[in-house]
C-alpha cells in the first residue's frame, strides 16, 4: 500500500487532491494536514501530521492547515479495517458498542474475519487469547465499561505472555451525560495498566489509523498486550449505550 493511498484512501474517490505541492512550498518540516481545491467535487482523506510526504498528487492551493472536522465521509474505521486485513486479523470478538460500531460492521462484512458476538466481554479476552494460541491473530473490541468485566481474565494474557490487541471506546470521559458511566470510565486506563496492558490513547480521529498500526506491531511483533483507547471526544457517544 502506498503512502498516497494510506493518506487518500481509495483512489477512485480522489478527484483533484492536492498535497505534495503545498508541502514543497512550506518545506518538509511544516505541512498542512490537507490541501483542497473544492470541497464539493473532492473526497479526500486527511493525513496525519506525522505522515511522510505524499507524492504524485497535484497541488491546487490550500486554504487552511486544519482538517474540516465536519467531513462526514471520513472515518477512521475503514483505514483500521484495511490494516487488519494487511496483518491477517482473522478473528474479532465484541459486545455491540456504539463507539466502535462502524469498525464492527466492517469486520462483520469481511469474510476473512470471523466476528463473534459475546454475552459479556470476559468471553472475548479468552477467545482472542485462544486465537493466538491457535496460530491466528484476533482483535478484542469493547467499550470502557466492558474492560471492568475482564480484569481477572487478563491474568491469563499476562501469565502466558500472549500477544494481545484490543480497541476500547471510552465512556464517562468527555461529554458524558450518563452519570453511571463515569466511575468505570475514569478507572479504565488504570485498570488496564494494572492488568499488564500497554495503553495508547487517541484524542483525535486522524491519529487512529497510525496508532493502530503501531499498536499491532507492539502486540504481535513485540509480543505484548496492547490496547488502543479511542477517547470519547472521537466517538461522541455521550448519551446512548
Amino acid at each position: 500500500m502506498t503512502v498516497a493511498s494510506i493518506c487518500f484512501g481509495d483512489r477512485t474517490e480522489r478527484a483533484g487532491s492536492s498535497y505534495g505541492g503545498a508541502t514543497r512550498k512550506l518545506g518538509a518540516g511544516l505541512r498542512p494536514a490537507v490541501s483542497v481545491t473544492s470541497y464539493s467535487i473532492m473526497k479526500w482523506r486527511p493525513c496525519s501530521l506525522r505522515k511522510p510526504l505524499c507524492r504524485g498528487s497535484r497541488r491546487q492551493g490550500w486554504k487552511t492547515g486544519r482538517l474540516p472536522m465536519n467531513d462526514q465521509d471520513w472515518h477512521w474505521a475503514p483505514d483500521v479495517h484495511r490494516h487488519f486485513q494487511e496483518i491477517g486479523i482473522s478473528q474479532a470478538a465484541y459486545v455491540p458498542d456504539g463507539g466502535l460500531a462502524r469498525l464492527i460492521e466492517l469486520c462483520n462484512a469481511d469474510e476473512t474475519i470471523r466476528s463473534v458476538v459475546l454475552t459479556t466481554e470476559e468471553e472475548g479476552v479468552a477467545q482472542i487469547a485462544g486465537a493466538w494460541l491457535g496460530g491466528e491473530r484476533g482483535v478484542f473490541l469493547t467499550q470502557s465499561g466492558g474492560v471492568g468485566n475482564c480484569i481477572n481474565m487478563f491474568s491469563m494474557i499476562a501469565e502466558c505472555r500472549i500477544p494481545f490487541f484490543a480497541m476500547v471506546s471510552m465512556r464517562g470521559q468527555w461529554g458524558e451525560t450518563i452519570p453511571w458511566q463515569v466511575p468505570m470510565g475514569q478507572a479504565t486506563v488504570a485498570a488496564l495498566e494494572a492488568a499488564g496492558v500497554i495503553v495508547q490513547t487517541a484524542w483525535d480521529p486522524r491519529e487512529v489509523p497510525e496508532m493502530v498500526q503501531a499498536a499491532t506491531r507492539l502486540a504481535f511483533d513485540a509480543g505484548r498486550a496492547v490496547a488502543v483507547v479511542i477517547s470519547q471526544r472521537i466517538t461522541g457517544t455521550g448519551e446512548r449505550g
Binding site: 455491540p96 454475552t119 459479556t120 465499561g145 452519570p179 453511571w180
Partner: protein, 194 residues
C-alpha cells in the same frame, strides 16, 4: 424468523398495572424506559451503566424483604451478561422473586444489533434447567393475561420471557441519579432513612 406482535410498552404497562406494592428493579436499557414510562415510583430502582446485575440486585432485596414481591424487568441482552445469576437464583429459590425478560432479540442501546436469542438461545430453557420452578414463554396477549397472576402471586421464583416486536419505543426521561433513586427506594421498602 418469527414475527412477534406484542409491543413492549403495552406489555410492561399491563404488567405494572397490577403491581400493588411490588418493588421493581429494571435492567439497563429499554426496560428502564418501559417502566419509567408507566410512571415514576419510589419502588422502582432503575439500573444504568452496567449489564448483568439486575437479577442479583433484585435477589438481595428479596432476601431482605421476604414479605414483599420483588420483580425484575429487564432485557435479553442484560440478562445474558449475567446469565450465571439464574443458576444462583435457581439454587436459592427466593419465594418472592419474579423475573420478566422483555425479549426483542436486539441490543437497543447500541444500535439494535441482534442478540443471542435471535440466533435461538432459549432463556426459558436456561432458567428451567437452572432450577427455577415456574417459567413461561409469552408470545401473545392471551398468554400474557393468564401469566399476570403468576407474576405476583404464588411461590417464586418465577421467570418469564415475553417476546416483543423489535421496534424502538420512544425514550422517556428516566431518573438516573443513582444516589437519589437508591435512597428513596430503600426508604420505601424498609422505612430506613440513612
Amino acid at each position: 424468523m418469527t414475527e412477534y406482535t406484542l409491543e413492549r410498552r403495552d406489555v410492561v404497562h399491563r404488567i405494572l398495572k397490577e403491581r400493588g406494592d411490588a418493588a421493581v428493579v429494571t435492567g439497563i436499557g429499554n426496560a428502564s424506559h418501559d417502566v419509567a414510562s408507566a410512571g415514576d415510583d419510589p419502588l422502582n430502582m432503575y439500573l444504568f451503566g452496567v449489564m448483568g446485575g439486575a437479577v442479583m440486585t433484585a435477589f438481595g432485596i428479596a432476601l431482605a424483604q421476604p414479605d414483599r414481591r420483588v420483580m425484575v424487568i429487564t432485557g435479553d441482552g442484560e440478562l445474558l451478561a449475567g446469565i450465571g445469576s439464574l443458576a444462583t437464583v435457581g439454587v436459592e429459590k427466593p419465594k418472592n422473586l419474579s423475573i420478566v425478560v422483555i425479549d426483542n432479540q436486539a441490543y437497543g442501546a447500541t444500535g439494535g444489533q441482534l442478540t443471542h436469542t435471535a440466533a435461538g438461545v432459549d432463556l426459558v430453557g436456561i432458567a428451567a434447567a437452572s432450577g427455577i420452578p415456574r417459567t413461561a414463554l409469552i408470545e401473545d396477549e392471551s398468554v400474557l393475561e393468564s401469566a399476570i397472576k403468576d407474576i405476583y402471586q404464588g411461590e417464586g421464583p418465577y421467570f418469564a420471557v415475553v417476546k416483543v416486536v423489535a421496534v424502538a419505543a420512544p425514550r422517556v426521561h428516566v431518573p438516573n441519579d443513582g444516589t437519589l433513586t437508591a435512597r428513596r427506594f430503600r426508604q420505601a421498602v424498609s422505612g430506613k432513612v440513612g
